[in-house]
Each structure stands twice: as structure tokens, then as C-alpha cells.
């Protein structure tokens, strides 16, 4: 027994209107009502504050600082931390290497996201189609790569890419094709990395879409069939529009993941001359923070990436939302 004062519920949310008119509310106070959700949110909020908000804030603080050295910089106390203003931000935004890494990642996203979502959609529609066989096997097989950490999957694909150890090149050789370029050569390496991303991600997105498809009652399809619609028409005209929200969310999360590509190029880099230590923006951050021991520049670049990610996500949702839902509300 936690409260004795009987007052009507003061909430204005879903269902509140109905319940308020239907019955005298439970025996608890308005304050109690307001307190409960905060109590439930408390663990999440505390963890978020300590392990996400605080580090992010700290990153912002660091991004406005730098370390300066005097003379030879040897001996203790040679380094001092000073305020840097926007120096680190300017340095990153005017560095052609950083801009190049952004360009590469955008191209990488243009290659990867449509391919991955297209295949995921195709597979999920096939899984949901009536006459497709081997569904259980295929679903598990296609989803399986999701369980393989990116570091490991990059290593596996690395073995499959390198001409001297790759079975593909062995086959090419048997066929008499001598001049197949290495997949890790400068022009192709971006596809090689996108392929690893595709391999790891297609199953996950397929499952998300498939789950949405499963939630659609079959009656809708029956009605369409009676009207003479083919399976393909049902898929394109009914199923795809119905799972549009799932498609948009997977697109958004795929885009975010693309901007953050790191493990694949980092693992492949030592295998080839085609990948620089600053191939992607996060590799650029990593190089500054760990190779160059300059966490201040790394912090500034991190902030830039986070803000850009946020802006792109927001913009994307604005656009697709208007397109996809404009007519529905």
C-alpha cells in the first residue's frame, strides 16, 4: 500500500481520456503517478549520463584544448595543456585527407546501402513468398554472418581476396584468365570493403523486414489474389508499401553504420597498398588518437562526425517522412 489518496489520474496520454471517464482511478496520488516513470527511467538515465553523456561532454571539452611542448620536449613537465579555441576543428575541416576520407565513405555508402537493402528486401520477400523452398536453411544461412565480428569477417574475406591464397583466383587461373586485377587494388578496394559490409549486414536487415512482413495478415493477400494479382504484383504493390517504415528505419541505421565504417578497412589495410591509415573518418580519428597520440584533434574530429551523422539522419528522416507518410496522416 503506497498511497491512500484517491484522485483521478491526471495523465493526458493514450487511453487516459477513456479511463478517466470510465472509472474512478486507482488509489494513488498524482505525484506518485509522475514519479513512477522517472523511477523506471532512473537506471537508464543514470547509465546514459555516466557512460554516454559525460564522455561526450568530455570529448567536447577536449576538442577545444591542445598540448604544447617546449624546446626538445624531453624531461618531465615538458608538455602543457592549453586552450585551443576552434583550432582543432579548423585543422580537421581544412585537411584534404579528412575531406577525402569523407568522400570515400559517402561513395562507400552509395555502393553499400542500396545493394544491401535491395538484397535484404528481395530475400525477405522470397522468404515470405508462398512457393519458395529451402526457407529455413536460407534464413539461417543468410543471417549467420551477423554473428561474426567484423574483425574476424574482414580477416576471412582478406584471405579470399588475396590472389595468392584465394580460391577465386585459382579458378580464374584454371579458366585461363591471367589478368584479373586484385580486389584489393586501388580502384576495387572500396567494393571489397563494401562486400564485407554487405555480407555482415544483409541478413540482419532481411530479418527486420521479414519480421514486418510476418505481421501482415494473409487475408490482404488472399483478397488481392482473388482480384487476380500475381505474386510479384502482391510483393511490389502491397508488401513493399506495407513494410516501408521498416525499410526506412533499416536505411537510416545502415547509413549511420556506413558513416562509422572502421573495422573492415583497418583489418584489410596491412594486406594492401590501397588503403591509407585515414581511409575512413573514424580511421582518421583513430590515427590521431592512437598513432599520433593527439586526443585533442581526435576529439574535435569525433564531434564533427557526430554532428554530421545527426544532421544527415535528421535530414533523411525529414525527406522520407514527407514522401512516405505525407498522404497518410
Amino acid at each position: 500500500m503506497t498511497a491512500t489518496v484517491a484522485t483521478p489520474r491526471s495523465g493526458a496520454g493514450r487511453g487516459a481520456g477513456r479511463s478517466a471517464t470510465r472509472r474512478p482511478a486507482g488509489r494513488r496520488s498524482a505525484t506518485r503517478r509522475h514519479l513512477t516513470p522517472w523511477m523506471m527511467l532512473a537506471p537508464g538515465i543514470v547509465l546514459f549520463t555516466v557512460f554516454m553523456a559525460a564522455p561526450i561532454l568530455y570529448t567536447v571539452v577536449l576538442s577545444f584544448q591542445k598540448e604544447m611542448v617546449k624546446g626538445l620536449g624531453l624531461g618531465s613537465g615538458a608538455k602543457t595543456r592549453t586552450f585551443a579555441g576552434f583550432e582543432n576543428y579548423v585543422a580537421t575541416l581544412t585537411d584534404p585527407e579528412f575531406l577525402a576520407s569523407v568522400g570515400r565513405v559517402l561513395l562507400y555508402g552509395v555502393i553499400l546501402v542500396p545493394t544491401m537493402l535491395g538484397l535484404a528486401l528481395l530475400f525477405s520477400l522470397l522468404l515470405d513468398a508462398r512457393r519458395t523452398g529451402a526457407k529455413g536453411f536460407s534464413r539461417v544461412s543468410i543471417f549467420l554472418p551477423y554473428a561474426v565480428p567484423a574483425v574476424i569477417s574482414s580477416l576471412l574475406w582478406g584471405f579470399l581476396y588475396l590472389p595468392a591464397v584465394s580460391p577465386f583466383y585459382w579458378i580464374f587461373e584454371q579458366l585461363g584468365w591471367d589478368d584479373v586485377p586484385s580486389l584489393l587494388s586501388p580502384g576495387l578496394v572500396i567494393f571489397a570493403i563494401a562486400n564485407i559490409g554487405l555480407w555482415g549486414g544483409v541478413g540482419f536487415n532481411m530479418i527486420v523486414m521479414y519480421t514486418s512482413l510476418k505481421a501482415v495478415p494473409t487475408e490482404i493477400y488472399e483478397a488481392a489474389r482473388i482480384d487476380g494479382a500475381s505474386e510479384r504484383q502482391i510483393a511490389l504493390r502491397i508488401k513493399v508499401p506495407i513494410i516501408m517504415p521498416a525499410l526506412i528505419m533499416t536505411a537510416l541505421f545502415s547509413m549511420i553504420a556506413t558513416l562509422q565504417v572502421f573495422a573492415e578497412p583497418t583489418t584489410l589495410r596491412p594486406l594492401t597498398n590501397s588503403l591509407s591509415t585515414t581511409w575512413s573518418p573514424l580511421m582518421y580519428v583513430y590515427r590521431d588518437a592512437f598513432t599520433r597520440d593527439d586526443i585533442y584533434s581526435a576529439a574535435a574530429t569525433s564531434v564533427i562526425i557526430a554532428v554530421a551523422t545527426f544532421a544527415i539522419s535528421f535530414f533523411f528522416l525529414r525527406v522520407v517522412q514527407r514522401r512516405a507518410f505525407g498522404q497518410e496522416d
Binding site: 512457393r131 529451402a134 526457407k135 554472418p145 567484423a150 585459382w170 555480407w199 519480421t211 549511420i256
Partner: protein, 322 residues
């Protein structure tokens, strides 16, 4: 549509709630096919002839995804020289030797890594799922001032890459002397903005407000309602969140890499990557890494196979129970 009103300002939930809403309506008219098992569901139109084309496309996709896995299986049967000298897809007989060698590597350190990974991913994901469920339920089923702001701020967490917060997380944890401990890897991964986001969707869809209201009428406490009524209803959705978080922790490389100095605390990813990058004067231990990678993926596959029933049924099960 009353549902979307209160959070109209938030972009993401509006989208999904609209979809949830439609899904709930649809579910009302369906005849409980959600409960069907894998085999029965797949063969629901057994009388119809198989479409060869679409089956072939699907199998092609499966083949593409299995190819590197097949490579690992075969490569793990080779010894160090065979790995680089025999044909890639020609199996050998050294699988057991490799496992023994891996087990002997620094007195079974590999298995220690596996145990650590199980603790980080298993324990971490369970707690994280619970925290997400609490938060998601609160955000979906209560109305209170500041709700929109809380959700928006939490959601922004989805957009921040782990690499970026790992260093400041290290510097902050070092202040309290927690680096190089189990806690340093566990604690930061208990919070999952994505998990909260999903839990909010599941709570909104799977827990009917009427049931909460009637429980309240009968005098049930709020936490009782959450634990005894809402949580079971959200069950299948929570399995999904658990799996997401499990895989996220399992795959996380940067955080443990930065936090841990003692390799007895390493999870499998950091441990294997260490074997791979032994430094200039040592060759990478490819056979150990490959065998280790194979063994490390096995438990995940088992976990997925066991839990895939819930994946499949997903939100639908909530409706059936309700």
C-alpha cells in the same frame, strides 16, 4: 490516431508508432498463425509447386553467406604450412591438433577469453535488456512532463559511434580506478539507446493499455504491473533486444581493447586480434586465429538457433497471448 499526438515532435517514434499502430489493427483480424513453429510456417503452402527461380535466388544468397564460413571450417583443419601451400578448399586433418594447440596456448588462455566474452555479452546483455525494458515501458506507457526530451536525448545516443566515446570513457573510468577490470567493459555497455528505442516500440505494441488500467483498478503496484504483466507480454521483443545487445557486446572491439591491459580479462575479439597482430618479430598465428574464430562463432550460432523461434514470432506472439 491518438497515439502519435504526444510525440509528434520526435521524428523517429512517430514513424514507428504509425507502423506499430497499423500492425496492431491488422493483428486484431488475424487467426493466430504467429504461434506456428519454423517448419510448419515455412511449409504453409505445401500443395503448391515450388518456384524454382525464387528458390534458386534464395539459395544463391545462402551460398554467398556460407562461402567464407565454409572457408573457415576448411582452413581450421590445416596446419600452418598447409594453410598457405595447399588449395584453399582442400580440407586437411589437423583440426584436432589446432584445437589442442589453441587450448595449450598460454595454458588455455583462449577458453578464458571465451568465458570472459560469455560474461561480458551474456550478463551485460541481460542487464541491458532489463534496463531497456524498464525505460522503454516507462516511455511508452506513461505520460509525464519531460518525456519527449528524455526520449530525444536517449535516441541521440544511437548516433554516437563507440570509437568516439571509448577514449573519454577510459579517461573517466581511470579517475575511479576501474580501468583494466571486468567492470570497465561491462558497465559502459549496460546502456543501449537502441535497446530502449526497441523496447519502447515493443511495449507500445504488445502491452495493451486496457490491461494495465484494469490491473491498476485491482490495486496492483506499478512495478508489479511491469514485472508480472508487461514484461511477459514484451517477452519475444525482449529476446530480440537481448540478441541485439549480445551481438553488439560480442562484436565490440574498441572498448575492451582500450580498457584492458591484462589479457586474462580480454574478450575473444581482442584476444584473437592480438594473435593476429603479434608485432614485427613474430608471425601472425593464423591457424590459431582461424580455429579460434570458428570455435567462437559456434556458441553464437547455437544461441541463434535456439532463440530464432522468438525472432520469427516476434511481436505477433504478444498479440496471441493478449
Amino acid at each position: 490516431m491518438t497515439i502519435t499526438n504526444q510525440t509528434r515532435a520526435v521524428v523517429l517514434p512517430e514513424l514507428t508508432e504509425a507502423s506499430e499502430d497499423r500492425r496492431t489493427l491488422r493483428r486484431a483480424g488475424r487467426r493466430g498463425r504467429g504461434g506456428a513453429g519454423g517448419a510448419a510456417g515455412a511449409g504453409r503452402d505445401q500443395r503448391m509447386p515450388l518456384a524454382v527461380g525464387s528458390t534458386a535466388v534464395l539459395l544463391l544468397g545462402a551460398l554467398y553467406c556460407l562461402l567464407p564460413v565454409a572457408w573457415v571450417v576448411i582452413a581450421s583443419t590445416k596446419d600452418a604450412s598447409e594453410l598457405f601451400s595447399t588449395f584453399t578448399f582442400a580440407p586437411s586433418t589437423h583440426l584436432w591438433d589446432n584445437i589442442v594447440e589453441l587450448t595449450n596456448y598460454r595454458d588455455g588462455l583462449y577458453w578464458r577469453w571465451m568465458l570472459n566474452t560469455a560474461i561480458y555479452a551474456g550478463f551485460g546483455a541481460i542487464v541491458s535488456t532489463y534496463v531497456s525494458a524498464l525505460s522503454g515501458y516507462a516511455l511508452a506507457k506513461y505520460t509525464f512532463p519531460g518525456k519527449g526530451v528524455v526520449f530525444k536525448v536517449l535516441l541521440m545516443g544511437v548516433l554516437v559511434p563507440g570509437v568516439i566515446v571509448a577514449i573519454p570513457q577510459y579517461l573517466l573510468l581511470a579517475q575511479v580506478g576501474l580501468t583494466n577490470t571486468y567492470w570497465s567493459v561491462l558497465l559502459p555497455q549496460l546502456i543501449s539507446p537502441y535497446g530502449i528505442y526497441l523496447a519502447r516500440i515493443y511495449a507500445a505494441a504488445a502491452v495493451p493499455t486496457d490491461i494495465i488500467e484494469s490491473a491498476r483498478t485491482e490495486g496492483a503496484g506499478e512495478l508489479f504491473i511491469f514485472h508480472r504483466i508487461a514484461l511477459p507480454m514484451m517477452g519475444p521483443g525482449l529476446v530480440t533486444i537481448f540478441l541485439f545487445q549480445f551481438v553488439a557486446v560480442w562484436n565490440n572491439f574498441m572498448l575492451p581493447y582500450i580498457m584492458l591491459g591484462n589479457d586474462e580479462l580480454f574478450p575473444i575479439t581482442v584476444g584473437l586480434s592480438g594473435l593476429l597482430n603479434q608485432g614485427a618479430s613474430l608471425p601472425a598465428m593464423y591457424t590459431l586465429v582461424i580455429t579460434g574464430a570458428l570455435l567462437s562463432v559456434l556458441p553464437l550460432i547455437v544461441l541463434f538457433l535456439v532463440l530464432q523461434r522468438y525472432w520469427r514470432v516476434d511481436l505477433a506472439a504478444g498479440a496471441v497471448k493478449a
